[in-house]
Symmetry: C2
Subunit: 137 residues, 2 copies
């Protein structure tokens, strides 16, 4: 399951995407909209900013705003940033690969093979669906 952090990040991006006519959006407003902790969300927005999805402006009248076009933000990138691996096993993760300690031979492991399939199908969706797609509805 996705962590709350990731869910909140996706919601926040959605909110920012839907309010692109406004110059900046307050953390406060997003937190209120979804009934989540201001401070927790603050940390999340900061991560999204460091990752290059958001810009911000300090001081009175400041806030956050999208700096990428929604169609240029694949869901896979958001999930990997906040949650880490998308794959179901470390041994099939493209971005966070690690061998499984208990596994003698990856190439002979049937579990590995199935999980590669699952990973590929999942990524096929998450790399092609972007913020744009979740804004549509």
């Amino acid at each position: 399951m996705l962590s709350k952090k990731t869910k909140y990040a996706l919601h926040a991006l959605t909110y920012l995407g839907k309010h692109r006519d406004e110059k900046t959006i307050l953390i406060h407003d997003i937190a209120e909209e979804y009934g989540i902790s201001h401070k927790f969300l603050e940390n999340i927005l900061l991560e999204l900013k460091k990752a290059g999805f958001l810009g911000s402006k300090k001081g009175k009248g400041g806030g956050y705003y999208l700096i990428k076009e929604p169609q240029d933000i694949p869901l896979s990138k958001v999930i990997r940033l906040l949650d880490g691996p998308i794959a179901m096993l470390p041994c099939v993760s493209l971005n966070y690969y690690e061998p499984c300690a208990e596994c003698k031979s990856e190439t002979e492991c049937g579990i590995n093979k199935v999980m590669i399939q699952v990973r590929d199908e999942t990524l096929n969706i998450l790399e092609n669906k972007t913020l744009q797609d979740i804004l549509k509805t």
Copy 2:
């Protein structure tokens, strides 16, 4: 990511599947094969037994054995038993559904829609791949 519990369960089933010619298999032997804790594995095998995948025999000469045919054990069932939901969000889980606290309208949520797609693709694999498939290699 799958928990170690689930990974170990899949490995144990694999081991039992590969030794179906023997009447019973000791916890000890499986634990040793994969270098995992005897006691931890014991709990896992017990769960697999209660779920109807395994049979057991107590006392000297006892042990565990498969009571289902490998092709009748879909990976989805094993994962759900040990790990819980396969879906990425509670609001799209078929077996462990819960609404997302922060979400006002599921039908208007774009994230929900994408995650339904991911769930369906994932299940399409995990419900059709069985222990038989991971034994092949």
